[in-house]
Amino acid sequence: MNDSRDIAIEINELSLSIGQRRLLDGVTLHAEAGERIAIVGPNGAGKTTLLRLLLGLIPSERGRIKLGGSALTSLSRREVARLIGYVPQQLADDIPFTVIEFIVMSRYAHAQSGGIIPRDREGEKIARQSTERVGIRHLENQTMATLSGGERQKVNIAAALAQQTPILVLDEPSAHLDPKQRESIQRLLSEIGRKSNTTVLTVTHDLNWAAMDFDRIIGMAHGRVLADDTPSRVVTPENLLAIFDANWTIQAHPQSGCPMVLPTHHTPAR
């Protein structure tokens, strides 16, 4: 294990129940600074709950979380927001703000409260740098409601980048997108992570993206971590059976050699 200064996220024995239902059961995981981790698992595995706990949006029942060496419980909401940028699943499609207004808002944790109705010029400057980085400069003055799903997700990513955090947490960033837009978002996230040494933790249902583009994959089911290793060690028929309860075919990618999951062929009933 490296020096503790290099650990971006440290989660130990985290548990949470709501009523009789156990959402998380003794989850332990660590992420080093700059590491790219994908969390996969079936619906209801506890992936989104894990992210919400990590962001401090809900309190845990047991266990502890450390961000950059500090206990999450000792940090204020603003301090957490200066450590983690969050890209949620698709937001409502009728958000009435312009792209630039929306991105400036995400810098709330950095904004100074200076008198009544002040203008956040510093926030606007950094928001413009984020739109440039994500390639949506031309959309700055458009209303969010007029954008396509892929464009809106790029705005969400730009907003998280504008928070200037060492950690980026994403909840199914490419869900609900067509294949071309999905590829564009995934490529963008790959470039961002690698260029800026940002620690990236993403929940995804896209196993092939997880295998191709991440340093580690964490497989979850029923609130527990069932696998946590490099993609080639996690994406195996045995692990996928344990995590998803499914028999899928795995082949090596013809160019990169990384494991690819193929759906099982079944003959339609006549």
Partner: protein, 332 residues
């Protein structure tokens, strides 16, 4: 939406509000001579009509309109519901029940110059705010929907009690109750202005400082939380601050409906949804709108004044339908 909301606010809405304040005291059945401007303390008919009746009334309408409109803006943001107004959450219902009880029980006391009816309205409004706040605290996550539904349930409950008291009361009590429930600015006086001013000023200052928080709350709770906002705490602070402001207004003016829903929606169409622009725009527009409605209310009929609540509701009803149709069309 206009291309420069700030310019629209500074060069259109602000001068419009100033002009409304300057012109409306002159409008009415009796036209005072212009020299009345230099005789504010005089006891002649012109001076009394101008300085003691019309100026306080125009100022009261302006301030009440500002507060009601601001209340709508804040409640629509914190509950992410375009139909939410402070009245939806039972503030007006509580005040109305307080007044109905005071009239029914014949309470005629006056404390520190404030009438028993006003005090009863304030106590009723505070009671309903406390109940909704209690509901919010009792549910662990202060969910906007729980608060809204709780408020609506309380409003209906209070309305039924008001109807019961009216049914049990005599004709003259019923008339007084109905008149109060219509919302009316005829109780305007210098004292009334000083009574509501602290509520309005503190409401404007608090929401003006919290415009970033309102922007975040109006989008998504988890996103707002991940940006560093303490969502539940902020929702409660804004709910209490705005409810208190509305309680102060309702105490003096009665429940004047529809300003809190019309003014914010019209302003959103003109200056956009960013609360940095929406708050000043809605404050000015709400003030102008209610002042114009009240001028119409006191001049439209020669025999008697029409309560301003009737004028705002007559304009508000069709607007409400237009809003619903527009929303239905834009969602295909």
């Amino acid at each position: 939406m206009v291309s420069s909301p700030r310019k629209f606010i500074l060069f259109i809405l602000l001068p419009l509000a100033v002009m409304t304040l300057m012109v409306m005291p002159w409008i009415g059945q009796h036209l005072p001579g212009w020299d009345v401007l230099f005789r504010p303390g005089a006891e002649d008919l012109d001076a009394i009509i101008f300085w003691k009746i019309r100026v306080p009334r125009v100022l009261l309408a302006m301030f009440a309109g500002m507060g009601l409109s601001l209340g709508g803006v804040v409640f629509q943001a914190i509950f992410r519901n375009p139909l939410a107004t402070p009245f939806t959450l039972g503030v007006a219902g509580g005040a109305s029940l307080g007044v109905t009880l005071a009239i029914f029980l014949g309470l005629n006391l006056t404390i520190l110059g404030v009438s028993g009816v006003s005090l009863a309205a304030l106590v009723g409004a505070m009671g309903s705010i406390t109940i909704v706040y209690g509901i919010a605290r009792a549910t662990s996550n202060v969910s906007p929907n729980t608060m809204l539904l709780g408020g609506v349930a309380i409003s209906f409950f209070f309305s039924s009690l008001i109807l019961l008291l009216q049914y049990l009361g005599d004709m003259s009590d019923s008339f007084r109750i109905i008149h109060w429930l219509m919302g009316d600015l005829s109780r305007a006086s210098a004292e009334a202005i000083f009574q509501i001013l602290p509520f309005i000023v503190s409401g404007i200052l608090i929401t003006g400082f919290l415009y970033r928080e309102l922007n975040l709350l109006s989008i998504h709770d988890d996103l707002a939380g991940s940006c560093g906002l303490h969502v539940e705490k902020m929702r409660i602070i804004l709910f209490l601050a705005v409810s208190l402001m509305i309680a102060g207004i309702v105490t003096v003016c009665g429940p004047i409906g529809f300003v809190g829903i019309m003014a914010p929606h019209i302003c959103r169409l003109i200056v956009g949804a960013n609360h940095r622009n929406l708050i000043p725009a809605a404050i000015l527009f709400g003030g102008v709108f209610l002042t114009l409605c009240d001028t119409l209310a006191r001049t439209i009929a020669t025999s008697a004044e029409v309560p301003v609540g009737i004028i705002t509701a007559i304009l508000g009803g069709p607007f409400f339908l237009w809003l619903l149709f527009k929303k239905a069309r834009s969602h295909g």
